[in-house]
């Protein structure tokens, strides 16, 4: 959700539906981040090391390490959110209604998961 705010602040228009569909969103370096996040999520460390090593030709090691820091942090904090059935903050819910529908994030709502998986 903060990516939307970030776009507003920098006057850039991001295609947020791409967060779930895989189409380009418009963030610099996103192809590298996509792969980095996927390999981090899968704990595929050998493949990740190879990818980081190769990616330092196009992105600085400092940025790659900082990207790993964000990815691993959110791999942890999403566990807290998922494990607590946490609702959106009221203000966020009101301001992101259309965005959540268009991006498909609503599919991850806890009541829908309960219907789907139980």
């Amino acid at each position: 959700m903060l990516l939307r705010r970030s776009g507003e602040a920098s006057e850039r228009d991001y295609d947020l539906a791409g967060m779930l569909t895989g189409s380009p969103v418009g963030v610099e370096g996103e192809a590298i981040f996509d792969r980095l996040v996927q390999l981090t999520y899968e704990d595929s460390y050998d493949a990740l090391h190879q990818f980081l090593f190769e990616s330092k030709q196009t992105m600085s090691p400092e940025k790659l390490v900082d990207a790993v820091a964000i990815a691993t942090a959110f791999n942890g904090i999403t566990k807290v959110a998922n494990a607590s059935g946490l609702p959106l903050d009221q203000a966020t819910e009101q301001t992101t209604k259309k965005l959540r529908m268009s991006s498909g994030i609503n599919e991850f709502a806890d009541d829908l998961k309960s219907d789907r998986y139980n």
Binding site: I70, S84, D110
Partner: protein, 233 residues
């Protein structure tokens, strides 16, 4: 596959310090769990990724269709093992019914929160080390001591599975509340909030922090990882 040594990639020292301190804290008695249990939970997180049952559940259309026993060598009770393994390997498909079943087996909401915090913290610390080719920080020795069992009554029902921290809230210029729900989620156990965010905030903040990435890149990575985890929040 050739091995690539990336251990010379530059790491930020404040992250290392935060991780060391957080791992040390596993060896101390918590609010509801004793030190031995806390250390075992750390060890369980470290072995859970190889659990065959979790792998089967992960491959299933519903992770609740596959029953069996998780592979565990820590001696933790089966309910705690179930919580740890679900969080490590199938957290994207947790349901309220599963949560209810955990409480029905005698785990208190406070114990559950403390376990969740310990698991999530370990996932961050070990994930960071593994991703950058470092050895994991060794599990500490359990130091004994007695859990404080200090309940926090400053919590409120806010639509989550568990009561969350009760705070006076106000919106910031980002449109988000000053204290977002994710910070309040483990409010039943304030020490879990402190422990988890001592690590989380060393790597990410809503306000400007040490990073070479611009805000859009930070939020892109965060959003992508949230998407992999099917995180509605």
């Amino acid at each position: 596959m050739p091995r690539y040594d990336i251990s010379d990639f530059p790491r930020r020292s404040h992250i290392d310090i935060a991780h060391e301190a957080a791992i040390t804290a596993y060896g101390k008695a918590g609010t509801w769990l004793d030190s031995r249990t806390r250390v075992k939970i750390l060890e369980e997180v470290r072995s859970a990724r190889d659990c065959p049952l979790c792998l089967e559940q992960r491959r299933s259309l519903s992770p609740y269709a596959k029953e069996g026993e998780h592979v565990s060598q820590t001696g933790l009770d089966p309910i705690t093992v179930e919580i740890v393994h679900r969080l490590c390997n199938n957290a994207d498909r947790l349901t309220y019914r599963w949560f209810e079943s955990i409480l029905a087996q005698g785990v208190s909401a406070e114990q559950y929160v403390e376990i969740v915090g310990l698991v999530a913290t370990a996932i961050i610390i070990d994930g960071f080390a593994g991703a950058l080719g470092y050895q994991t920080i060794p599990a500490p020795r359990a130091q004994g001591g007695v859990p404080t069992r200090k309940a926090n009554d400053k919590v409120v029902e806010a639509g989550a599975w568990i009561p969350i921290m009760d705070v006076e809230n106000e919106a910031t210029e980002t449109g988000l509340p000053k204290i977002p729900n994710i910070f309040r989620a483990m409010g039943l156990v304030p020490e879990s909030v402190r422990h988890f965010f001592s690590v989380m905030s060393s790597q990410y903040s809503l306000t400007p922090f040490d990073t070479s990435l611009d805000r859009s890149q930070v939020e892109y990575i965060a959003s992508k990882m949230s998407s992999h985890n099917q995180c509605f929040y």
